[in-house]
Amino acid sequence: MPNMRVKQLLPPKPFEIFHMERSCCEVRLEMSSSIEYYNQLMKDAGVDGGVFAVLIGLFIVFCTAVLWRFITGSSSNRNGVLLIGLSDAGKTNLFSQLVSGTGRSTQTSLKENEASYAVEGAKRSESLTLLDLPGHEAIRQQFVEKFKDKARGIVYIVDSETFQKNIKDVAEFLFQILTDKSINKISPKVCIACNKQDKLMAKSKKVIQLQLEKELNTVRKTQSAALSSTSGSGDDNVYLGIKGEEFQFSHVKKFKLEFLECNAKSDDGAKSNIDEVKSWISSLV
């Protein structure tokens, strides 16, 4: 008979834990009421106070853990390095090179790739998480939304060979990232990696920087004239650069922007060269 009673009172527990994550005040309120509840039931069931004390102890430990996370968690759990860029820029190749040091053939990504990345010479606790996000137009926005809060650093990868042809797309996506409100709030370091430098027609990072600057200037104009959207809310994006001046990357104060060159593919005799990316990532810890 007593056993049955105990069973009855078990179910509320998981739900109590659920609430705790919401806020600490709420937890306290609910705890006091649940203490009474338990007390009552314990008496009914004839269970002695020992078990009950242990339960309270557990609650307190849990509370502290939650609080601790609230206080310290905010910056240290942001250890993601996002690889972002248009489709076919070479993100997955770069990811594979960084993680395993080998090349793999790839297909258009449908999902993110995630792996932890140990920076040479850094403490284990400082390990970073590499996130390779898909670049196809139909899904990239959803994935940036999902992972942007984890960004300690963003590697924006550009295909230097097709850059001239795709410049409008490259600039538009970069513009979206640099003006995103919550990315601005956490202001991660950003580097623009000009990939596929092994190719003959690849543009150098100098050229890419200059042309991107010009194109971003135009995009800034057209985007500010764009129609507002159906939801009625005005766009809450951050203004890029300085109002009333031609855009320059040096005007972006929120991010430490850097340009670098790499090539991520290493077959058919070509050797990959991702040293600059590696050392940039090391600078994050």
């Binding site: 997955t92 297909q107 990504s109 409008k168 538009e172 104009k221 985007q223 129609l227």
Partner: protein, 624 residues
Amino acid sequence: MLDFFTIFSKGGLVLWCYTFQGVKTNFSEPINALIKSVILQERGGSALFNHGALQMKYKLDNEFELVFVVGYQKILSLLYVDKFIDDVHRTFRDRYRQKLLEGSLILLTTNFDFESMFAKMLRNAEETKTQQVVMKKFHESDKAKKTVKSLVIDQNKKDGKETENKANVIKKGSPKSITNGTGSVESSPKTQRETESPEIARNREKFIQKRTKVAKATMKEGKKAPERKGKLNRVWDKGGTAKDTKDLDYSAPPTMTNGHSNEQVEKEELTEEQRALCRNIRALDDDDEDEEIEELEVDEKKSSGGFFSVFRGLVGAKGLTKEALQPALDTMGDHLIAKNVAADIAKKMCDSVATKLEGKVLGTFSTIAYTVKQSLNESLVQILTPKRRVDILRDVLESQRAGKPYVITFCGVNGVGKSTNLAKICFWLMENGFRVLIAACDTFRAGAVEQLRTHTARLSALHPPSMHGGRESVHLFEKGYGKDAAGIAMQAINTAREMRHDVVLVDTAGRMQDNEPLMRALAKLIAVNSPDLVLFVGEALVGNEAVDQLVKFNQALADHSNVQNPRTIDGIVLTKFDTIDDKVGAAISMTYTTGQPIVFVGTGQSYPDLRSLNAKAVVNALLK
């Protein structure tokens, strides 16, 4: 004779790849085409895809996030690939289960040594097509009953969504293959006993038909055959064609009444002796059938009831099955239809979500209904997100620099708001300092030119020349009624080039999609003038009609132009958005059908009532 078979993670890392005789051809381009035009456009329901001379089939593993793609020459139309891909999938998964669970790093460092196993499976599959098949007598195996039974239940539940694989397996009449759920392939060579040649297949059909009440299965087969043909022909063009819709109609699930009547006809054709045989089995079956149906119903109740499904989620760490998903999918499908999504499209979306979720393992606290909703949400946002850059101002600037006008053509059926929204877009362009020429190519409807004249007058009153350095920033180009629209548009564009207008907006007459001569005229107008942007104007009030309109417009544009690469619709203007409350389904129907973005949304009758589409807000309204 497969050209290639490749296995890659959804993240895009190729794990293992087979090419015919080790040829070092690069197949990643057609595979990427498959990913971009089928998987990423939520056309996952049917799984054949043509690319040049290649035909591809794919399968998703949602538990380990893998994709299996097989490719072969289209003319071969191999029948064994359906089952082959399933077998390879199962074998690969079972063999590397441990590895696959461990994440990206392991995927990158593991060498998937799958060659010998694959070669054996392929040999089996290919050899069997030349062997004369000796069938195990169908009624001898008690599994046979099961096969048919499952089919019966499917029909009773009006479940048209069973995979092609399943149907194929059934029609091949290989009783073992279905129950062979987990066994590896080597252990059951019988499953491989399939034939390629159509005569053999036909003979076998007869054979089975005589045997038992598998009549039903063959009926299904008869139904399937035309559908299959349709699928092979299917072109994964952005537009989809009028033919497609017809083909697709075939695939509508057989209704219950239909199924029964057919069954009766078949039954009467059986000989007396066979009938006796049937009766025995049927008697046996009938009870089982009822039982199973009951079971399924209970299942259904459980999974739709929110409270119980919590515990289902807690207990079951098994992958989701189609059956488990079905009730939740049906609910969502009905919900979408209630929100004015075209019925066809709602069904295809649900199929696509099913493909994406089948086999997925639920998280601890998530229910099926929640998972389905979440996944549908993602898919809908994906559909509404433009697949290319839509920045018209940027493109206008570009042509301005090149010294030629940017031409936008508006088309659509009657009274949807072409002229009104053309005027609104004109206003927006003028606000941004561009000079616009309106070409009145609606030479058909009385008053159309006067309507545009009024708009022009009002717009230039809003933007007097004094605001633009003494130059009128909007002009009307008109040539009265009854003339050839294509010619007028041509003259307008030439005028614009001379007068240095930045943009030409071409208004065309409204036309019904079935009006052949008018559609031909529109195709001509577009072919002759090759505008930079062809916008289809459609009202948000439209329901199932939306699909028909768009498909036919696209088809007409493709058919009636003699150019190599015909121009089709580039974008959509969704009008009267203010009149529909939260029944925003037309947005989905239109983008799904064309694969093109909604560029403008008309939200009222005055000039500033023009918006861009907010995909997330629309999807929220849709799933509310």
